[in-house]
Symmetry: C2
């Protein structure tokens, strides 16, 4: 039984629910970003939170990515075979996390974002114990209000502390413009504000003799406008590799750029004007679509008039009242999820489909690395 | 490194985020239901979707549960070592799922809920191929509007089909009153309607010579009122073993009955009146609290005035503006999640804490069994 799944030769044979990646689309998404970045002299450091596996990380590196981004030390440990240069774009303040990062720095270029003196001290202590050096990026809050130094002055104080602390190296600035969710042609003013705040910080640092060699930014919605932020030396989009209904409905990609589809089976048609599929919040997550909160829980490709309106843990209730033709019980449908990152995080494995229809099982091997 | 986690001797040493179960509370929750059921002559068939592991399933069986409930065939396959009697309270219509259930029926009492002729035929075909028999419960919709026969007449037609079909056995009726979410002392009218519809169905079946030996109902919110539905022979609550902010804020348990706490570390205090913890939607899920949608994403036990207002994938933003004393960076806090079932489903392992403070790692071994 154990290896039975490797014998599936087509999507129609997969047990459902199953998340299938169109390899042609995913490779095209990777290539498109690579070309944009090359043209604009930007490094690409994909955030691996979206796919959480070594196979796709390898494709990103092969397409010219300068390194990888992670949120967890466990993800960095897992992905150390895929890249020599890893950035943890997440604060590390406790001794255990910092110690594991300092160990990784024996063999890898390890950088971590910081927004507190405690974080700097903890990473320094760990690096000194391991006899390694950890590169630090000071996080600057550019409007998200989540983490990061509020002002250029606060960012300077952190930079000065780093420059005076043994075991850590001041490498630059990191920001995450995650609040910018406007259509691409409306992003210029928002990105101009990001650019101005970065420049103020860079200038202030420079006036004190400190240099930001790396300025790391980017998100999937702002990705193809990154050239408007001249300060960026690299960008860290994650979702772009698959896209989802958030990026499509936000106007950041076409439907043909959505690489991931959740294959589900209709398991009940007992309630009038409704069919039920075998995927719920434990398959899709309960995330609503950010640019269209009333649009349901995903787009059913074969039945565009159907609406996946309600999820229980394992049931998806689909309103088919507007469908001329309706899915039958036992039929399979394919759904583009609202938010692909937490959806992938619910799967132990996903299926990579090549142009010839062949299927490859990919373990989501960095999944579940919580710390 | 691999077995390092087994050496943690206290919660304070666990890498965060970590989900810790207070074994004293969980055992008390199991025992309390066991006593209620015994007093009211009801079978208990816990829904394992909440904990998804063999250890806790074993405790439930040891406390007198007559069998286990699952939503997925993979869960049944995993839990076959914990119980001889398994109910899949979820429709199976495709040949692959039905085939695996028919195989399990070689060694176990297997029952499945049905609400369609296609489901009955598929299970019959699979059972006949395996030379086994699968017991069927006809689902009756008692107001949820999700799955199940709409009327006693439709339920009768399914029962008649089952009674004429080889390989399947008509065992009774299943309902899920999941829409009843009112306070315990207000549930009587809602449960009276459930009881009346069940009785109409039982009477109609009896008039045609068909018997419902099993009448399976129950949910955690209606659990301790199950005696008001005299037709029930067994109940299938799941959440009760841990409880969560849904059951607490709904008025169905006390805060002291909540067994599961997510231990998180404060990783940033950079933004005014806010601290950020190392858990977001990939740790808690994005589920809002059903009876209190504006209450945030969980209850922080050490800081009751704090509100976990916003989750990103890995960040939890806590509003501490109302806190006299505020958590410091690096400090650990413990949080009761809104909805414990999908939260457990995000963990590869949880930690079971005994009265003496000792910790045991429990693999969430039925997690990720999507089909």
């Amino acid at each position: 039984m154990a290896n039975l799944e490797h014998s599936f030769s087509s999507v129609d044979q997969l047990p459902t629910p199953a998340l299938v990646i169109d390899g042609v689309i995913a490779r095209r998404n990777i290539e498109r970003l690579s070309q944009y970045a090359a043209k604009n002299n930007l490094g690409v450091r994909p955030h691996t939170k979206t796919h959480k596996n070594r196979f796709i990380a390898g494709l990103q590196i092969a397409a010219g990515a300068i390194g990888l981004t992670v949120a967890k030390v466990g993800e960095a440990e897992l992905l150390q075979t895929a890249a020599k240069d890893l950035l943890m774009a997440y604060p590390a303040v406790d001794a255990a996390r910092c110690g594991r990062l300092a160990e990784l720095a024996r063999t890898h270029t390890i950088r971590v974002v910081v927004d507190s003196p405690v974080g700097i001290q903890s990473l320094s202590t760990a690096a000194n114990q391991a006899g390694t050096t950890i590169g630090l990026l000071v996080e600057l809050d550019v409007g998200m209000g989540r983490t990061g130094a509020a002002t250029p002055q606060e960012a300077l104080e952190l930079a000065q502390l780093i420059s005076q602390t043994r075991g850590v190296r001041l490498d630059g600035i990191l920001c995450y413009p995650g609040q910018i969710w406007s259509a691409v042609d409306q992003q210029s003013p928002a990105l101009a504000a990001v650019s101005a705040k970065l420049q103020d910080t860079i200038d202030l640092w420079r006036s004190k003799g400190l240099e930001a060699k790396i300025v790391s930014g980017g998100s999937t919605p702002t990705m193809f406008q990154s050239h408007l932020v001249k300060q960026y030396t690299e960008i860290r989009p994650g979702t772009y590799v698959f896209n989802d209904m958030n990026t499509f409905r936000g106007g950041f990609c076409a439907l043909e750029d959505c690489a991931a589809r959740l294959i589900a089976t209709v398991v009940s048609t007992a309630v009038k004007d409704q069919v039920v599929i075998d995927g719920g919040t434990k398959t899709f997550t309960s995330d609503l679509c950010i640019p269209a909160r009333d649009s349901g829980h995903g787009y059913i490709a074969e039945y565009p008039e159907a609406r996946l309106m309600r999820l229980s843990e394992e049931h998806g209730q689909v309103d088919v009242s507007q469908c001329a033709k309706r899915p039958k019980i036992g039929e399979r449908v394919s759904i583009i999820p609202n938010h692909i990152c937490p959806c992938v995080n619910l799967q132990d494995a996903i299926w990579w489909k090549e142009a010839d229809g062949s299927l490859q099982k990919i373990n989501v091997d960095a999944r579940g690395k919580l710390s």
